[in-house]
Symmetry: C2
Subunit: 345 residues, 2 copies
Amino acid sequence: MTETAPRPTLEAVAARAGVSRATVSRVVNGGDGVRGPLVERVRRAVEELGYVPNQAARSLVTKRHDAVAVVVAEPETRVFADPFFALQLRGISKELTAHDSQLVLLLTEGRADHARVGRYLAGGHVDGALVFSLHLDDPLPELVQRAGVPTVFGGRPGWGEGTRSAVYVDSDNRGGARDAVRHLVGLGRRRIAHITGALDQTSAVDRLDGFRDVMVDAAPGLIAEGDFTPAGGERAMGELLERCPDLDAVFAANDLTASGALRVLRAQGRRVPEDVAVIGFDDMLPVAEQTDPPLTTVRQDIEEMGRLMARLLLRGLRGRGGEPGVGGTPSSVVLPTTLVRRASA
Amino acid sequence: MTETAPRPTLEAVAARAGVSRATVSRVVNGGDGVRGPLVERVRRAVEELGYVPNQAARSLVTKRHDAVAVVVAEPETRVFADPFFALQLRGISKELTAHDSQLVLLLTEGRADHARVGRYLAGGHVDGALVFSLHLDDPLPELVQRAGVPTVFGGRPGWGEGTRSAVYVDSDNRGGARDAVRHLVGLGRRRIAHITGALDQTSAVDRLDGFRDVMVDAAPGLIAEGDFTPAGGERAMGELLERCPDLDAVFAANDLTASGALRVLRAQGRRVPEDVAVIGFDDMLPVAEQTDPPLTTVRQDIEEMGRLMARLLLRGLRGRGGEPGVGGTPSSVVLPTTLVRRASA
DNA sequence: GTGAAAGCGCTAACAT
DNA sequence: ATGTTAGCGCTTTCAC
């Protein structure tokens, strides 16, 4: 804990450079209509004084904040079960940094927090918001809509009232699931089971839909509900084995689920992939590479999703106020997935 | 993406309530020297207009920001390997929220980012900073020191120049390690090995020191260097087994390392805990509970560490400016650890 | 191309 | 107890 020194103002720089505040301001903001030598003089003064613009004063007049809120409803997601969250954040952070925007993190855990977040967003402290709302009945999308803050969602939001027009970034969960199941089919497997994710999240629903796209006539017994956790995977795998002892493949909604399933299969003496082929989703390295055997899985580029969310938001921000439509109102993006073959299928 | 409406100002509220701006300001900030009925009238006006104070305008005059920066040097830490990061953030977030402070997240990946962070902190955008700097030679502590921002570190920082007086929150890594090894000794084990963490982080060094405290005469061959990852754990375990085939216990620097070690032990046909007892550190539930067998480990309360960091910082912030010493200059805190017994030792 | 001046919305003396 | 007023540090017309 150290004492904070008084910082130089525009005024000080102007005095030192022998120009007016206006000129300094111009230089600091790109130095457009200022002649070369003057720019140089001002730059030097800025340097010597260690001048840094006061963001509060600036925001007061520009009404911009160069800050974006990232809202994560965390008890509801698997945020702490795998590095998903951290990876998205990294992508977001990189993109925001490149545009000199700050990342304000808002973690929520319940209704009380929702009110707080709503107030904050409505309070106009940030230029926009990036919201992770993977729950079907999440109040967040509506709330954000009401706050009137430009927003991009991470993952397709559930269908609330005003959510139809929401801009979001998502992986092609359905297509990825189809690829996975087709791969299993190509391997000659016929009794293919699916362990779903938490079905109140669109990603889980979409992956299930993808499974059904390929296995149109799958026996209902071949589908067991999981929750994206290893424990859920274990439980579901147990059920599956009991109901359909003759299954020869499993598509798990994510890698964590798959890891749980693998454990149960091994415990029951089934060989993977000889007896049962297993395929996951995510390609979370720390998980997929460490299972026994290493996991074949559907890879999604999580960091890129984060980066894209930020990019979309910033582009939208630029589009407003200026000539409308120059930035253009961004529309949602669905990123492709790729199958990563390892040993389990 | 929606349009943002013009927000009402203090002035508007004052007009509506038939009072002066000053009075509204007082009410909004707690309403101390204002009489009941007036407070009521102003409150109503605020309500009706949906007034929210403009933080930029406020900061401009108060020089406070109600915001704290959280700086994470992420390529350098195991941030993405386990939920450490997310848990600390959660603790921090909770505490900041309780004090109406915002969390500005700064992720860094290299020297260029350091400069940026330095500028941001020096720019006086936040009231203080929470810095995770677990690297021995990390430039961050010095940089923060120079920026003159009140700071609390997560984990004991390496000894740089001005780091002596740094305030930090850490777990009792050394004590926890001692407990772990003593537990092993209590189990009757005599050939106890240690797989270290990345030794450029103080936590790894401290745990190694704890190991040595108990195993004063341990053969050098019983210590292998890891890096806090499962892969590192595997490699180190392999070396250990080669050098000292007769070892009967392993203390791993963290749970991830232990999980790698377990895999190698199993692959080589050693039974755990019968032949070799294994103990980890962290008690990362998703890891420790899912290993086979479940991991005995040293628990540290990560979320509490985060919370404490924030609390310390805020307390320090309160102490400055007012009567000096009322908040008091906070000093570092080392949190106790507890041994959690599962099946592996 | 450059400077002078008018605020942005708020708080904190100071007056009353 | 309440109102008046002077800025906080910056951007941005508007003159020159």
